[in-house]
Symmetry: C2
Subunit: 116 residues, 2 copies
């Protein structure tokens, strides 16, 4: 793979959930995904085998893990082990979050490639 340099907030977006868009950058073993939550948007309870790390950039993202709410603000970071069920919602102003997945999520790559 060649080095890549991209303006991440100008990458084509795909829909993660209603009101939640992602702008991805795919490496070989890991990927970035710049997530925008519109106010009131939520990500329902789900899990994936990929490890997920992330950093909140703007607004508030709440991650709900094992029934415990973690309200995260700018510079709050996290690691969710693969396979753990989680859901998410945002504060009244929405949120901007950088997610990281390892390994790469091929399901996201397919959805992103199909997004027009």
């Amino acid at each position: 793979m060649e080095p890549q340099f991209v303006r991440l907030d100008a990458v084509r977006a795909f829909e993660l959930a209603a009101g939640v868009s992602g702008r991805p950058l795919f490496g070989a073993g890991a990927m970035l995904n710049l997530i925008r939550f519109e106010p009131g948007a939520t990500v329902p309870l789900h899990s994936h085998p990929h490890e997920q790390l992330g950093l909140v950039l703007e607004g508030m993202q709440a991650l709900v893990v094992a029934g415990v709410v973690h309200e995260l603000e700018p510079f709050d970071a996290y690691v969710l082990p693969g396979g753990i069920e989680h859901s998410a919602y945002c504060g009244p102003d929405g949120a901007l979050v950088l997610d990281v997945f390892a390994p790469v999520r091929d399901d996201y790559r397919e959805r992103w490639e199909q997004a027009s």
Copy 2:
């Protein structure tokens, strides 16, 4: 591994190079590292087998790869394949950058654990 939630800019820092500090968060297969460049600081030419991704958060970070300078500003993101030689420097106001490595850099973990 349990889920982790941390205020990344309050994590204990370790020195990456003169005037360049890192605040890490270690997952199982990937890690975050919040890098602060003081004005004028540089990272000399080096390489590592780990893939490196990242996002500039504040200021300007220049990555020099194969002799080509890539001047990166907020929301510019990158992927550097493992094993590629690169160096870095910052703009006059320094820079704040989120680096991501996969797999985890055990050399960073050791240096961070030894940082007082």
